[in-house]
Symmetry: C2
Subunit: 299 residues, 2 copies
């Protein structure tokens, strides 16, 4: 089954202790689509400017990503500049230019409106609400967010939350959203806001998945040579939803396996800048890490 | 097989968001012994003052802890006052009076010198070195530490490290000791300092175990109603080493199961002040949590 993703496609300039990458392909929908595209067909809805490099369009198309919904508008592409220090969980935004993204109001084509699997990648939750209004008959809608929307767009975010089946966020965002310092209680609190399934990402400490009467804890895949943390969360979501859409099941066992595949995709993303490592991931790579994951938690 | 533990026995006054406990039984060797005592006989070496309550002696003896090596000296028992805020990983020491502990130089009885299982609970690593000199023919020596010894007694700590088989510390201490921000690299670096096995405790994020060519990640047992984090690490070590000593095996499978039993003991400790919850833990309690742990990580 294919997945519809709506989010950002950007040109990123990133500094990390490993080096620097300039004007490279980034954005929440990009990372999601490249990770999900490993598993299934992805329909990408986003906007870029007329300066967007053709090589990047080719890269996306190469991963069975449908670009019918990628609007190319006169003007400049969304740009983000950021820096990570020794602690990969702390990033500093050096500059952010929305450019053509500023007037982005996604209009889904008729066939996209009936998408069974949908991912609302990290953008203003107001845009998520515009998407939710256009959808009908979706089987599974998942969404993501980030700290600035919790702070500044709380009301829209809460409305968006009541319209999704799965909500994914990181640990500090979960605490900020719910006011709970204990992550188990935070996970429960998120479920009480609407989504039947809550996923809390904890970076190098792994992932917690909360579903009805159940709770799953996965470690992160051990990454020794972290290069660039950008897109880890979006790639996690891509692997997670990609696996679910490919198999068409959302039982507890499938959700748990999906978390592992999500973690594997994230681990490849952070091994390189931009999509340098993720773009060339093979089935052999993924299954090798899956077996290593099994051994990692076995007792 | 019995375990020898050398460390502190103290009277603690603790404030947490859940309440306050005054002059209650604490200390690194106490928590270790009470957790390990669930599995096997423990020989406790420590010192208390003449003010040490008889009820507490009875409590320790009740958990098959041999008190032959607990010196009762004229004077006051070691006292610690501390406070935890909303973040259970951050604690503030309000006061610390070593009292009779100030002149503690443990002398092991002859039969204790040949202990097969030994735990050097968190005290000055200089005292650990005094113990190591007295031991002969031990099968497994494990040790713990804390931030102040890494800062102030680094040289003694490094000598102690080269004399133990297993070293246990928390994530911030692992980073401080090795200078590595990445915990996988930190774990490896600790092993290169001597111990064949390194264990990094990550509080609510679980535990990493590093052994030869292998790596194990366990989540923490989900505790929703944390009461008092004091002694969690010592109880973890007690459950861990208690399980190993009871079964007399140190293969990879046993080490992993021991980590789970350690985590279970720690989860009971933090559910109450002092030893309020841990002291009454039954086999049924422990095995129920073990089964829940299995389900928690299964995929």
């Amino acid at each position: 089954m294919s997945i519809l993703v709506v989010g950002s496609v950007a040109l990123d300039t990133v500094e990390t202790p490993s080096g620097r990458a300039e004007e490279v392909l980034g954005g929440s929908a990009t990372y999601f689509a490249m990770a999900a595209g490993y598993f299934t067909r992805v329909n990408l809805v986003a906007v870029v400017g007329s300066d967007f490099p053709e090589d990047y369009l080719n890269l996306l198309q190469g991963r069975s990503i449908d670009l019918k919904g990628l609007e190319i508008r006169e003007g400049k592409t969304f740009r983000w500049k950021g820096r990570y220090g020794e602690d990969p969980n702390e990033r500093e935004t050096l500059s952010l230019c929305l450019n053509v993204f500023e007037d982005f109001h996604p209009q889904l084509s008729e066939d996209y409106c009936s998408s069974e699997y949908v991912f609302l990648a990290n953008i203003d939750p107001g845009l998520h609400l515009e998407i939710l209004k256009q959808l009908s008959g979706s089987k599974l809608i998942a969404g993501d967010t980030m700290n600035i929307w919790i702070e500044k767009r709380r009301e829209a975010l809460l409305r968006m939350l009541s319209g999704v089946d799965i909500f994914i966020l990181n640990d500090s965002e979960a605490k900020m959203l719910t006011g709970e310092q204990n992550l188990i209680r935070a996970g429960r609190a998120i479920r009480s806001l609407g989504p039947g399934i809550a996923i809390i990402k904890k970076g190098e400490h792994g992932v917690l998945l909360f579903s009805e009467n159940d709770y799953f804890a996965a470690p992160a895949y051990p990454v020794e040579s972290l290069c660039d943390p950008t897109g880890a969360g979006d790639s996690f979501a891509g692997g997670f939803l990609g696996y679910l859409a490919k198999n068409g099941r959302t039982d507890e066992g499938s959700l748990r396996k999906a978390v592992i595949y999500g973690s594997i995709m994230a681990s490849y993303t952070v091994e390189g800048f931009s999509l340098d490592r993720l773009k060339s991931v093979t089935e052999e790579d993924v299954e090798r890490k899956y077996r290593k994951f099994k051994n990692l938690v076995r007792f």
